[in-house]
Symmetry: C2
Subunit: 188 residues, 2 copies
Protein backbone atom coordinates (compact mmCIF):
# COMPACT_ATOMS: atom_id res chain seq x y z
CA UNK A 1 0.00 0.00 0.00
CA UNK A 2 2.97 2.30 -0.33
CA UNK A 3 1.46 4.00 -3.37
CA UNK A 4 -1.39 5.12 -1.17
CA UNK A 5 1.06 6.72 1.24
CA UNK A 6 3.12 8.30 -1.51
CA UNK A 7 -0.08 9.88 -2.83
CA UNK A 8 -1.01 11.16 0.63
CA UNK A 9 2.42 12.77 1.00
CA UNK A 10 2.28 14.32 -2.44
CA UNK A 11 -1.24 15.68 -1.95
CA UNK A 12 -0.34 17.08 1.46
CA UNK A 13 2.59 18.86 -0.14
CA UNK A 14 0.13 20.21 -2.70
CA UNK A 15 -3.41 19.16 -3.77
CA UNK A 16 -3.81 18.17 -7.40
CA UNK A 17 -5.48 16.01 -10.02
CA UNK A 18 -4.64 12.50 -11.09
CA UNK A 19 -2.94 13.87 -14.13
CA UNK A 20 -0.80 16.24 -12.08
CA UNK A 21 0.10 13.43 -9.70
CA UNK A 22 1.13 11.28 -12.64
CA UNK A 23 3.53 14.01 -13.70
CA UNK A 24 4.90 14.36 -10.19
CA UNK A 25 5.56 10.64 -10.32
CA UNK A 26 7.79 11.29 -13.31
CA UNK A 27 9.93 13.63 -11.24
CA UNK A 28 10.08 14.57 -7.54
CA UNK A 29 8.20 11.74 -5.79
CA UNK A 30 8.93 9.57 -8.81
CA UNK A 31 12.62 9.57 -7.96
CA UNK A 32 11.92 6.96 -5.33
CA UNK A 33 8.44 5.71 -6.11
CA UNK A 34 6.94 5.14 -9.56
CA UNK A 35 3.38 4.74 -10.77
CA UNK A 36 1.51 4.99 -14.04
CA UNK A 37 -1.53 7.20 -14.49
CA UNK A 38 -3.90 4.23 -14.59
CA UNK A 39 -2.72 3.03 -11.23
CA UNK A 40 -2.98 6.51 -9.79
CA UNK A 41 -6.55 7.08 -11.03
CA UNK A 42 -7.63 3.74 -9.64
CA UNK A 43 -6.09 4.30 -6.22
CA UNK A 44 -7.39 7.88 -6.04
CA UNK A 45 -10.90 6.61 -6.65
CA UNK A 46 -10.55 3.98 -3.95
CA UNK A 47 -9.05 6.42 -1.46
CA UNK A 48 -11.82 8.89 -2.09
CA UNK A 49 -14.47 6.22 -1.54
CA UNK A 50 -12.71 5.30 1.72
CA UNK A 51 -12.92 8.88 2.90
CA UNK A 52 -9.17 9.59 2.87
CA UNK A 53 -9.44 12.23 0.16
CA UNK A 54 -11.87 14.93 -0.92
CA UNK A 55 -12.59 15.75 -4.58
CA UNK A 56 -13.45 19.06 -6.15
CA UNK A 57 -14.43 19.20 -9.81
CA UNK A 58 -12.87 22.19 -11.49
CA UNK A 59 -14.01 23.61 -14.81
CA UNK A 60 -11.09 24.95 -16.76
CA UNK A 61 -10.86 27.19 -19.77
CA UNK A 62 -8.94 25.92 -22.79
CA UNK A 63 -8.51 22.49 -21.25
CA UNK A 64 -10.69 19.61 -20.06
CA UNK A 65 -12.21 19.76 -16.57
CA UNK A 66 -10.22 18.15 -13.82
CA UNK A 67 -10.81 16.66 -10.40
CA UNK A 68 -8.65 18.14 -7.72
CA UNK A 69 -7.97 15.83 -4.80
CA UNK A 70 -6.92 16.89 -1.33
CA UNK A 71 -6.23 15.01 1.88
CA UNK A 72 -8.88 15.16 4.60
CA UNK A 73 -8.73 14.21 8.29
CA UNK A 74 -8.85 10.40 8.01
CA UNK A 75 -6.22 10.50 5.24
CA UNK A 76 -3.89 12.48 7.41
CA UNK A 77 -4.53 10.07 10.28
CA UNK A 78 -3.78 7.10 8.01
CA UNK A 79 -0.45 8.65 7.04
CA UNK A 80 0.40 9.40 10.64
CA UNK A 81 -0.37 5.85 11.67
CA UNK A 82 1.80 4.48 8.88
CA UNK A 83 4.68 6.68 10.00
CA UNK A 84 4.52 5.02 13.40
CA UNK A 85 4.60 1.51 11.96
CA UNK A 86 7.84 -0.11 10.90
CA UNK A 87 8.46 -1.21 7.34
CA UNK A 88 10.88 -3.85 6.21
CA UNK A 89 14.08 -2.63 4.57
CA UNK A 90 14.02 -2.57 0.81
CA UNK A 91 14.70 -5.69 -1.17
CA UNK A 92 16.78 -5.08 -4.22
CA UNK A 93 15.37 -5.38 -7.70
CA UNK A 94 18.33 -4.92 -9.97
CA UNK A 95 17.64 -6.50 -13.33
CA UNK A 96 20.94 -5.36 -14.82
CA UNK A 97 22.79 -7.34 -12.15
CA UNK A 98 20.90 -10.45 -13.22
CA UNK A 99 22.03 -9.80 -16.78
CA UNK A 100 25.62 -9.36 -15.73
CA UNK A 101 25.68 -12.70 -13.97
CA UNK A 102 23.87 -14.22 -16.93
CA UNK A 103 26.55 -12.92 -19.28
CA UNK A 104 28.82 -15.70 -18.02
CA UNK A 105 26.75 -18.06 -20.16
CA UNK A 106 27.10 -16.05 -23.34
CA UNK A 107 29.57 -13.47 -24.63
CA UNK A 108 30.08 -10.85 -21.86
CA UNK A 109 31.00 -8.19 -24.40
CA UNK A 110 27.43 -8.03 -25.72
CA UNK A 111 26.55 -6.23 -22.50
CA UNK A 112 29.00 -3.37 -23.00
CA UNK A 113 26.65 -1.20 -25.06
CA UNK A 114 23.77 -1.91 -22.70
CA UNK A 115 25.80 -0.96 -19.63
CA UNK A 116 27.05 2.19 -21.37
CA UNK A 117 23.46 3.14 -22.09
CA UNK A 118 22.45 2.66 -18.46
CA UNK A 119 25.46 4.65 -17.37
CA UNK A 120 24.35 7.57 -19.53
CA UNK A 121 20.85 7.46 -18.05
CA UNK A 122 22.31 7.68 -14.56
CA UNK A 123 24.59 10.55 -15.56
CA UNK A 124 21.55 12.43 -16.89
CA UNK A 125 19.59 11.74 -13.73
CA UNK A 126 22.47 12.96 -11.59
CA UNK A 127 22.67 16.20 -13.58
CA UNK A 128 18.92 16.61 -13.19
CA UNK A 129 19.07 16.06 -9.42
CA UNK A 130 21.98 18.45 -9.01
CA UNK A 131 20.14 21.13 -10.97
CA UNK A 132 17.10 20.63 -8.75
CA UNK A 133 19.22 20.84 -5.63
CA UNK A 134 20.75 24.11 -6.76
CA UNK A 135 17.37 25.53 -7.71
CA UNK A 136 15.45 24.53 -4.59
CA UNK A 137 17.91 24.12 -1.75
CA UNK A 138 21.46 25.39 -2.20
CA UNK A 139 21.29 28.11 -4.86
CA UNK A 140 20.90 31.86 -4.36
CA UNK A 141 17.19 31.71 -5.18
CA UNK A 142 16.52 29.06 -2.53
CA UNK A 143 14.71 30.05 0.67
CA UNK A 144 16.81 30.47 3.80
CA UNK A 145 16.36 29.02 6.25
CA UNK A 146 14.59 25.95 4.89
CA UNK A 147 11.48 24.78 6.71
CA UNK A 148 11.05 21.22 7.97
CA UNK A 149 9.41 19.99 4.78
CA UNK A 150 12.18 21.43 2.65
CA UNK A 151 14.91 20.01 4.88
CA UNK A 152 13.36 16.56 4.55
CA UNK A 153 12.92 16.90 0.78
CA UNK A 154 16.55 17.93 0.59
CA UNK A 155 17.87 14.97 2.53
CA UNK A 156 15.88 12.63 0.31
CA UNK A 157 17.30 14.34 -2.75
CA UNK A 158 20.80 13.96 -1.32
CA UNK A 159 20.04 10.25 -1.15
CA UNK A 160 19.15 10.24 -4.81
CA UNK A 161 22.36 12.08 -5.66
CA UNK A 162 24.44 9.65 -3.62
CA UNK A 163 22.67 6.73 -5.30
CA UNK A 164 23.37 8.00 -8.81
CA UNK A 165 27.03 8.72 -8.04
CA UNK A 166 27.48 5.26 -6.55
CA UNK A 167 25.74 3.64 -9.51
CA UNK A 168 27.86 5.48 -12.09
CA UNK A 169 31.05 4.44 -10.30
CA UNK A 170 29.85 0.84 -10.16
CA UNK A 171 28.91 0.80 -13.85
CA UNK A 172 32.43 2.04 -14.62
CA UNK A 173 33.70 -0.93 -12.64
CA UNK A 174 31.36 -3.22 -14.58
CA UNK A 175 32.55 -1.82 -17.91
CA UNK A 176 36.20 -2.25 -16.97
CA UNK A 177 35.47 -5.85 -15.97
CA UNK A 178 33.54 -6.64 -19.15
CA UNK A 179 36.31 -5.16 -21.29
CA UNK A 180 38.96 -7.11 -19.42
CA UNK A 181 36.99 -10.33 -19.99
CA UNK A 182 36.32 -9.39 -23.59
CA UNK A 183 38.95 -11.61 -25.08
CA UNK A 184 38.24 -14.62 -22.88
CA UNK A 185 36.19 -17.54 -24.22
CA UNK A 186 32.57 -17.88 -23.02
CA UNK A 187 32.02 -20.10 -20.02
CA UNK A 188 30.62 -23.63 -20.41
Amino acid sequence: MALEHAILVSLLEKPGSGYELARRFERSIGYFWTATHQQIYRVLKRMESEGLLAVRELSQQSRPDKKEYSVVGPGRAALSQWLHESIQPESMRHELAVKIRGAAFDDPSVLIREVERHRQVHIDRLAHYLAGELRDFTGPAAPTPLDTGQELQHVVLRGGIAYERMTIAWLDDVLATLRRLGTSPPHA
Copy 2:
Protein backbone atom coordinates in the same frame (compact mmCIF):
# COMPACT_ATOMS: atom_id res chain seq x y z
CA MET B 1 9.60 -11.73 -16.71
CA ALA B 2 12.84 -11.01 -14.91
CA LEU B 3 12.19 -13.76 -12.39
CA GLU B 4 12.30 -16.24 -15.23
CA HIS B 5 15.73 -14.98 -16.24
CA ALA B 6 17.03 -14.90 -12.69
CA ILE B 7 15.98 -18.55 -12.36
CA LEU B 8 17.71 -19.46 -15.63
CA VAL B 9 20.93 -17.82 -14.43
CA SER B 10 20.75 -19.53 -11.05
CA LEU B 11 20.03 -22.95 -12.54
CA LEU B 12 22.82 -22.55 -15.08
CA GLU B 13 25.18 -21.75 -12.24
CA LYS B 14 23.91 -24.92 -10.54
CA PRO B 15 20.80 -27.09 -11.04
CA GLY B 16 18.50 -27.41 -8.05
CA SER B 17 15.00 -27.77 -6.66
CA GLY B 18 12.42 -25.08 -6.00
CA TYR B 19 13.28 -25.23 -2.34
CA GLU B 20 16.97 -24.75 -3.01
CA LEU B 21 16.23 -21.85 -5.37
CA ALA B 22 14.10 -20.24 -2.70
CA ARG B 23 17.07 -20.35 -0.35
CA ARG B 24 19.38 -18.93 -3.01
CA PHE B 25 16.90 -16.08 -3.32
CA GLU B 26 17.51 -15.34 0.34
CA ARG B 27 21.22 -14.86 -0.35
CA SER B 28 23.35 -14.69 -3.51
CA ILE B 29 20.85 -14.02 -6.30
CA GLY B 30 18.49 -12.61 -3.69
CA TYR B 31 20.84 -9.69 -3.10
CA PHE B 32 19.46 -8.11 -6.25
CA TRP B 33 16.31 -10.07 -7.00
CA THR B 34 13.79 -11.44 -4.52
CA ALA B 35 11.09 -14.08 -4.78
CA THR B 36 9.06 -16.22 -2.43
CA HIS B 37 8.89 -19.98 -2.73
CA GLN B 38 5.31 -19.88 -4.03
CA GLN B 39 6.31 -17.67 -6.88
CA ILE B 40 9.31 -19.83 -7.67
CA TYR B 41 7.33 -23.09 -7.71
CA ARG B 42 4.73 -21.54 -9.98
CA VAL B 43 7.25 -20.16 -12.45
CA LEU B 44 9.30 -23.36 -12.44
CA LYS B 45 6.19 -25.31 -13.39
CA ARG B 46 5.42 -22.91 -16.22
CA MET B 47 8.99 -22.88 -17.49
CA GLU B 48 9.10 -26.66 -17.46
CA SER B 49 5.84 -26.85 -19.42
CA GLU B 50 7.30 -24.39 -21.93
CA GLY B 51 10.31 -26.60 -22.43
CA LEU B 52 12.88 -24.23 -20.93
CA LEU B 53 13.73 -26.58 -18.06
CA ALA B 54 14.03 -30.31 -17.48
CA VAL B 55 12.92 -31.99 -14.25
CA ARG B 56 14.35 -34.99 -12.51
CA GLU B 57 12.56 -36.48 -9.50
CA LEU B 58 15.00 -37.52 -6.85
CA SER B 59 14.18 -39.86 -3.99
CA GLN B 60 16.06 -38.91 -0.87
CA GLN B 61 16.68 -40.67 2.39
CA SER B 62 15.69 -38.94 5.59
CA ARG B 63 13.99 -36.12 3.71
CA PRO B 64 11.07 -35.72 1.28
CA ASP B 65 11.64 -36.33 -2.42
CA LYS B 66 12.58 -33.35 -4.50
CA LYS B 67 12.42 -32.26 -8.11
CA GLU B 68 15.70 -31.11 -9.51
CA TYR B 69 15.42 -28.61 -12.34
CA SER B 70 18.07 -27.87 -14.94
CA VAL B 71 18.21 -25.62 -17.97
CA VAL B 72 17.88 -27.24 -21.39
CA GLY B 73 18.58 -25.86 -24.88
CA PRO B 74 15.57 -23.59 -25.35
CA GLY B 75 16.06 -22.16 -21.86
CA ARG B 76 19.62 -21.27 -22.65
CA ALA B 77 18.50 -19.72 -25.92
CA ALA B 78 15.85 -17.68 -24.12
CA LEU B 79 18.47 -16.32 -21.73
CA SER B 80 20.82 -15.52 -24.59
CA GLN B 81 18.10 -13.66 -26.44
CA TRP B 82 17.22 -11.65 -23.34
CA LEU B 83 20.87 -10.69 -22.94
CA HIS B 84 20.76 -9.15 -26.40
CA GLU B 85 17.65 -7.11 -25.67
CA SER B 86 17.80 -3.85 -23.80
CA ILE B 87 16.02 -3.31 -20.52
CA GLN B 88 14.94 -0.02 -19.06
CA PRO B 89 17.03 1.32 -16.20
CA GLU B 90 15.67 0.59 -12.77
CA SER B 91 12.98 2.73 -11.28
CA MET B 92 13.47 3.37 -7.61
CA ARG B 93 11.20 1.89 -4.99
CA HIS B 94 12.36 3.42 -1.75
CA GLU B 95 9.56 3.31 0.78
CA LEU B 96 11.70 4.80 3.54
CA ALA B 97 12.18 7.93 1.43
CA VAL B 98 8.40 8.29 1.17
CA LYS B 99 8.22 8.07 4.95
CA ILE B 100 10.91 10.69 5.38
CA ARG B 101 9.06 13.17 3.21
CA GLY B 102 5.84 12.25 5.00
CA ALA B 103 7.45 13.02 8.34
CA ALA B 104 7.05 16.72 7.53
CA PHE B 105 3.36 16.27 8.32
CA ASP B 106 3.93 14.70 11.72
CA ASP B 107 6.75 14.69 14.23
CA PRO B 108 10.00 13.92 12.35
CA SER B 109 11.58 12.46 15.46
CA VAL B 110 9.25 9.46 15.39
CA LEU B 111 11.32 8.20 12.46
CA ILE B 112 14.63 8.15 14.30
CA ARG B 113 14.21 4.65 15.72
CA GLU B 114 12.97 3.36 12.39
CA VAL B 115 15.92 4.82 10.50
CA GLU B 116 18.34 3.46 13.09
CA ARG B 117 16.82 0.02 12.61
CA HIS B 118 17.24 0.19 8.84
CA ARG B 119 20.80 1.42 9.29
CA GLN B 120 21.60 -1.65 11.37
CA VAL B 121 20.14 -3.96 8.73
CA HIS B 122 22.37 -2.40 6.10
CA ILE B 123 25.43 -2.67 8.36
CA ASP B 124 24.69 -6.36 8.80
CA ARG B 125 24.24 -6.85 5.07
CA LEU B 126 27.51 -5.08 4.37
CA ALA B 127 29.34 -7.32 6.84
CA HIS B 128 27.74 -10.35 5.20
CA TYR B 129 28.78 -9.22 1.71
CA LEU B 130 32.33 -8.47 2.82
CA ALA B 131 32.61 -11.89 4.42
CA GLY B 132 31.38 -13.48 1.18
CA GLU B 133 33.84 -11.46 -0.87
CA LEU B 134 36.73 -12.58 1.31
CA ARG B 135 35.59 -16.20 1.22
CA ASP B 136 34.93 -16.46 -2.51
CA PHE B 137 37.03 -13.86 -4.27
CA THR B 138 39.74 -12.07 -2.36
CA GLY B 139 40.72 -14.39 0.50
CA PRO B 140 43.52 -16.98 0.56
CA ALA B 141 41.06 -19.83 -0.07
CA ALA B 142 39.68 -18.18 -3.21
CA PRO B 143 40.58 -19.62 -6.61
CA THR B 144 43.19 -17.77 -8.64
CA PRO B 145 42.74 -16.75 -11.29
CA LEU B 146 38.97 -16.36 -11.24
CA ASP B 147 37.04 -17.64 -14.23
CA THR B 148 34.58 -15.48 -16.19
CA GLY B 149 31.59 -16.46 -14.08
CA GLN B 150 33.44 -15.69 -10.87
CA GLU B 151 34.66 -12.34 -12.19
CA LEU B 152 31.09 -11.38 -13.04
CA GLN B 153 29.74 -12.58 -9.71
CA HIS B 154 32.44 -10.55 -8.03
CA VAL B 155 31.64 -7.33 -9.86
CA VAL B 156 27.95 -7.74 -8.97
CA LEU B 157 28.92 -8.30 -5.34
CA ARG B 158 31.09 -5.17 -5.44
CA GLY B 159 27.94 -3.34 -6.54
CA GLY B 160 26.10 -4.66 -3.51
CA ILE B 161 28.94 -3.56 -1.24
CA ALA B 162 28.98 -0.09 -2.78
CA TYR B 163 25.22 0.13 -2.40
CA GLU B 164 25.29 -0.78 1.29
CA ARG B 165 28.10 1.66 2.05
CA MET B 166 26.29 4.46 0.23
CA THR B 167 23.04 3.65 2.02
CA ILE B 168 24.65 3.62 5.46
CA ALA B 169 26.27 7.01 4.81
CA TRP B 170 22.94 8.39 3.60
CA LEU B 171 21.06 7.06 6.63
CA ASP B 172 23.64 8.81 8.83
CA ASP B 173 22.82 11.99 6.96
CA VAL B 174 19.10 11.34 7.47
CA LEU B 175 19.60 10.75 11.21
CA ALA B 176 21.61 13.94 11.60
CA THR B 177 18.87 15.84 9.78
CA LEU B 178 16.06 14.33 11.85
CA ARG B 179 17.89 15.10 15.09
CA ARG B 180 18.56 18.65 13.99
CA LEU B 181 14.85 19.13 13.23
CA GLY B 182 13.89 17.37 16.44
CA THR B 183 13.09 20.50 18.36
CA SER B 184 11.21 22.23 15.54
CA PRO B 185 7.41 22.30 15.51
CA PRO B 186 5.60 20.03 13.04
CA HIS B 187 4.70 21.53 9.70
CA ALA B 188 1.14 22.73 8.96
